[in-house]
Symmetry: C3
Subunit: 217 residues, 3 copies
């Protein structure tokens, strides 16, 4: 998919789609990432994202020591990772370190700027039913993932989390020291018939955030 | 299943059964909920509950934006939710926000009284091997779920949890401000041949708790 | 597999293998446990460990109340449990109490010395990509599991965890009061082509730890 361009190459985005109803926006996002932003795009679907592409398939392709490991290759290939929509279930898996499919394995091995490797932006666009969004675990788990960033010392991270009683999506996510960026959902008529917060951010908003992180590289 | 009754309708209970050996009590509980308590009952089985009724099946029924979403419909339909038996695995999933089957999706979207929607009772009847019951995570996770109730401020919830060194099932579960009700297991000869705590509460006890929460509506 | 030996019997080890690339070392470890250490060995593979042996299979063998329950039987049979390699995913499951396969059910019902039953050693040999190993959750989850040991009071356990800012694998794991023993990974050329920490400990090291815990019985 990558087109050589003199000495430069296009920014690479791994675009993951999970099992939220908002997955219907996937094709539009993918096309615009290529056409409007000039990204080199690879797409990763969870089981819930309707195509099964899991760790089992990885094992099928892997025959012997020395063969490439897909989730590690994808992580190395990508300059940034966008998960849009991010389902409640995959959110819970990432924040707890569970990794039973390729996306969650990529995220378990993601470069959060810990250890010796430089960090890479992770852009999360949650989309879910309003009651799911307002469930107390949602914010806690988004904060936990933001706390993965650049923290050798997990204790101070935990203290930080438990002392911040207010959670302001936009402020914390635009913080330059924290490149886990939450693309907040919007208030809308949801697919389940309710009106409330939890709808996927607009495609324009998602593309704006991708563009800004492409420039930061 | 619902029989119109003048202006009133019967209280609706969503009765979920998970993969504990105590699932053999399911039919008795269901029949008595209808006959003795006059409930309108819907039954939901996890994979471990021996019938697979998961989010995949939900997606099969769902064709386009505007179609009903099963786990949201069940949540809206129910006046209360009884999980009996509640397995250790489903307990861990609820307390961590994981939602890969219909029951766990219903619970992720449950009305705990947070946000703007009024809360609905959630009745949990754990049943497991004694060592599983005595594992330190069991109480911690039951407390975490009780803490979901009506907590906009997740920080104060966490502080509450970590400062309460003693856990008294019966006191905390009969607290009127907290409508996640734990129906404590009993000491018995367990299916695995041990004698100890962890057996499903008696059917009489389960029905008593369901009746008391039907009246509270 | 057990050979009667006068009045004594051989120490029994349940040897579990999860879906890390280091699973290729499994046969060597198994053979040497028998030949060099005289263990009576039973082997348990997770799905990732390439043979599926999960709770569903357990249910197939289980017909009626009174039948043996496999994960309880294995726990009762074993004198100690070795998980080598321990994958990041199974680590996350154990530390969160998730139990959707036989190994995680054995671990959910393990005798950690809590309640009235005496504890049995649990030996964990993690093996994973360097970035996975350095992810802040890895140490936190290993500490959480060590904290299961002999803790009636979960609050003091949590306080302990959050106040220990440094984590020294070897010191904490050789502590006699704590028989969850972490067999630390080593720095090596990993299967994914990186050089770093996260490779399975040497088989010699694994056998040394098994031997020392066989003697402690
Ligand atoms: C019709 C339908 C719509 C759904 N929409 C959402 C949603 O918008 N957000 C969400 O978090 N989960 C939603 N779910 C539930 C997820 O599909 C379910 O939790 C699944 O296990 C997620 O898997 P994944 O995170 O691996 O993609 C929906 C399920 C169905 C059947
Ligand atoms: C014969 C048998 C009996 C079991 N009994 C219990 C039990 O009483 N409680 C429990 O928590 N798990 C029990 N399990 C383990 C669960 O079935 C397993 O954790 C499963 O993954 C639970 O899935 P679910 O929570 O989605 O139903 C049993 C398993 C078997 C094979
Ligand atoms: C080729 C290949 C190599 C892998 N190596 C590891 C590894 O060394 N450590 C690890 O934690 N996960 C590794 N994984 C990912 C696990 O297989 C995946 O998380 C799986 O769900 C683990 O399941 P289990 O813990 O039930 O065995 C690897 C995956 C593939 C495809």
């Amino acid at each position: 998919m990558s087109i050589p361009n003199g000495h430069q190459r296009r920014p690479r985005i791994l675009f993951a789609v999970t099992g939220s109803v908002a997955a219907v926006k996937g094709p539009e996002i993918a096309v615009r990432l290529v056409k409007e932003l000039g990204f080199d795009v690879r797409i990763l679907l969870t089981h819930g994202g309707e195509n099964f592409w899991n760790a089992d398939d990885e094992w099928k392709e892997w025959q012997k020591l020395g063969d490439p490991v897909l989730h590690i290759n994808l992580r190395d290939w990508a300059d940034l990772l966008l998960v849009a929509p991010l389902s409640a279930h995959t959110l819970a898996k990432i924040s707890n370190g569970l990794c039973d499919d390729t996306l969650s394995c990529v995220l378990r091995a993601w470069d959060y700027g810990h250890g010796l490797r430089p960090g890479k932006p992770l852009l999360l666009a949650p989309a879910m039913n309003t009651a799911m969004w307002e469930h107390p675990l949602t914010k806690l788990q988004l904060q936990t993932i933001q706390g993965f960033w650049n923290t050798a010392d997990t204790t101070s991270r935990r203290q930080q989390l438990s002392s911040s009683s207010t959670y302001n999506d936009d402020e914390s996510s635009s913080n330059d020291n924290n490149t886990v960026h939450i693309i907040s959902p919007q208030v809308k008529n949801l697919a389940c018939g309710e009106i409330g917060n939890g709808a996927l951010a607009s495609v324009d908003e998602i593309l704006k955030v991708c563009r800004s992180h492409a420039h930061k590289r």
